[in-house]
Symmetry: C2
Subunit: 211 residues, 2 copies
DNA sequence: TAGATTGTTAATCGATTAACAATC
DNA sequence: TAGATTGTTAATCGATTAACAATC
């Protein structure tokens, strides 16, 4: 507790992890914070500070060992675990996520799909049969689902979140463009595409007028 | 210039916009920062501060008029403009975004699709024919594309970004899990799904051990 | 007018950056 | 050892929160 590690730091940690992994796979064994910074557009001091939070990861005068970092940061982020995920709402976005390759590579396994549309229940996406949303609780329990992904319309999102929490998921990834409430002990990450597109729109508008 | 309006503020502005719009459409004409805050989990002071940056938007002792706010925030965010978008890389994610309804509602119009795979070039998604990526520049110019959406693998992302900038897009929305460089005057928004999923993984791991 | 609520100035908090000692 | 680079303490910067005056 009193962890006080900022969301920003965790996000950067995920970037470090990806880079260290890629470097390692390409035969790079050691790298300095200076060089890491150049590749990520992050200051070397920021990187050293972030990494130092968790202990002595580097070697003074030398740099960071990529193999060691992949393992250590992977442990911190829980990427060495194996997570089972369920997608609720197999529309375009849900279907796309179901087919996303990147997840499996990092230990995230799609283990269930849910929808309420009787026309698609029973059909298969990415080798997984779509279950009736009414069976959510039992399927989530039977398949040990850890992460629930919400890709239903905004109005349905809170109900789905409640169902997922009730079924015992450990975390929720919400793509519905709305705020949802979950108990404090259930981590929630929101993916707000409309918001991010609005941010882009703002900057484009800005750059045209003023400046 | 010297605008100094933080990314965080812009993001919240997009949330305010969405809420004001929804309230307006549901017949709510006036709302206080107190009530807005409850609906968004943001403190009323934060909301007033954010809105006050752009002028006197509310009425003291009364609150904010939803109709007025939709128009004013819409202007700030450029959501009253009409943006033409192109998706480069019509894989699962690109295809899903092409079919995403929410965008059109807010003035974002999909006007072109590109891929390099000869097997899908010429076929149609969401009423748009997929163009050969080799024709990117001419198509972007002819259709007045403002926003380029990158949904190609990480290794190809920088090349695509270069092509888009060269073709004259005004902004880039990057879904490839990698850093890309663009000229300072071209706004870039990154959508890093793998990073966000790692953040979720971190919190779930955390909640299990410690605490 | 009295009550409510905004907009703004000052205080606090947290995150980033600078400086540098530690040490491989 | 000398050079390089980390890890940490102090300084700065920016964003959030608190307090309150302005005013509908």
């Amino acid at each position: 507790m009193k962890s006080a590690i900022s969301q920003a730091t965790i996000g950067r940690l995920a970037l470090y992890f990806r880079l260290f992994k890629s470097l390692y796979e390409n035969g790079v064994q050691i790298i300095s914070s200076e060089d890491l910074g150049k590749k990520l557009d992050i200051t070397p001091v920021q990187i050293r500070k972030d990494l130092a939070i968790f202990g002595q990861f580097g070697m003074k005068g030398v740099g960071y060992f990529t193999a060691e970092m992949v393992s250590k940061i992977g442990n911190i982020l829980g990427l060495n675990n194996h997570w089972n995920m369920a997608i609720v709402g197999v529309g375009h976005l849900g279907g796309a996520l179901a087919n996303y390759k990147n997840f499996e590579e990092n230990g995230f396994k799609l283990a269930a799909l849910f929808d309420k549309d009787i026309r698609i229940i029973g059909s298969t996406v990415h080798g997984i049969q779509i279950s009736d949303i009414r069976n959510l609780k039992s399927v989530v329990k039977n398949r040990s689902i850890h992460i629930g992904i919400i890709t239903v319309p905004a109005l349905a999102a809170q109900d789905i979140a409640n169902m997922l929490v009730d079924a015992g998921v450990k975390g929720i990834w919400n793509f519905a463009p709305t705020k949802i409430d979950v108990p404090a002990e259930i981590p929630l990450v929101n993916e707000d595409l409309a918001m991010d597109l609005s941010i882009l729109s703002y900057h484009i508008s800005r750059d045209r007028g003023e400046i």
